[in-house]
Symmetry: C2
Subunit: 219 residues, 2 copies
């Protein structure tokens, strides 16, 4: 994957990015307390950018922050995850149909390229960021910036569990197949089929994520 991660403009945003990855990677478990001082020392910065990063992650739904009481990795309940998937079905379904009309040979080539890169990714984090890139390229031609931002926002609290569920010998092959079917349907301009495939894709993901969430909830 040749995506060069451009240097963050500010310390706070760079921190937010690294903390996001750390949470996705399971470095902090749900319910665990993130101490400002500790994070500041670990990354060699002061507490000010740490606070801004934590506020950012709270806004994304990855943390629960209470006044004077610290930030904890959020532990979404099964009903909330279910709800997030219902919202994704609405938003992404709409985006897909709108984007489908705007796709052209160039954007389709890009989509295939991203899918190839995705299947070559070796580690779990690479897989997830590749999946995000694929879907953004899929929905991008719709020209709907707020919906696209919403798509990212609805995924953020969920991806953590997807990463967990991506052990070796899991649903990886079916996932890739569904992506390729999506590309084919979009190339054919078949909105109904494309939307059906996407919905099945999301329903399958929902089941996997709910299972991973339930598993983690036991600890």
């Amino acid at each position: 994957m040749l995506v060069t991660r451009l240097a963050a403009a500010t310390t706070a945003s760079a921190l937010a990015q690294r903390l996001r990855e750390a949470i996705d990677a399971g470095q902090w478990r749900p319910g665990e307390l993130l101490r400002q001082e500790q994070i500041a020392a670990e990354y060699g910065v002061s507490r000010i950018p740490v606070r801004e990063a934590l506020a950012q992650l709270q806004n994304e739904g990855l943390l629960d922050v209470a006044h004077y009481r610290g930030a904890r990795v959020s532990r979404p309940r099964a009903e909330e995850i279910d709800e997030l998937f219902d919202l994704r079905l609405m938003v992404e379904g709409d985006l897909l149909v709108r984007a489908l009309r705007q796709h052209d040979p160039r954007s389709l080539r890009e989509l295939k390229r991203l899918q190839d890169a995705l299947e070559d990714a070796e580690d779990r984090l690479g897989w997830i960021s590749g999946d995000i890139a694929f879907h953004e390229a899929l929905y991008g031609p719709a020209g709907r910036p707020r919906s696209l931002a919403l798509f990212r926002q609805l995924r953020a609290p969920i991806d953590r569990f997807s990463v967990q569920a991506l052990g070796p010998g899991t649903r990886k092959q079916g996932w890739a197949d569904e992506h390729r079917q999506l590309i084919a349907a979009v190339a054919a301009g078949d909105a109904i089929t494309a939307r059906t495939i996407l919905e099945d894709h999301l329903q399958a993901t929902r089941a996997v994520v709910l299972a991973a969430c339930a598993e983690q909830g036991e600890s």
Copy 2:
């Protein structure tokens, strides 16, 4: 309205609230630059809570913040407002239908009470906060916290223009009528009618907001 605004736990959140109201009230115009030092002096605090409040408002989509270049009141383009209303139609439509099944005499009484309070509100800001309260009570019984949060988020960048469009002798009466029709349809358990009324309500609001936005865009 007997809602006592509880004192904010922290300076930053109190500031965010006041700035939000100031922007909704048109105290700052779209594109205008918000200086940290000036706001800090105005409210008698240091720049740290100001920065956190500005970051919060940026997350809510009311401000555009550029690195080392200050925060400006966002000036959403017409297409983005259009997009936000499309999203509201999806999310609020879904919420309404789900809530409709859960409403009971008690929640309906509360809804009527809020509508009465709304019609008694004298100033524009009171009208808007009353409208938010009404819709939250309308959707609340659905038991969908993330969707409700999304509802608030989708309104935030728009309400500013609604306030503008609420001069005397405007659509206020039609607005109230639609609310009462909504209550009646929900009380009757008629999902189809309720959803239709809500969609008309939102479409009418969309037109008003787009007009206000276009008017402001000229300056």
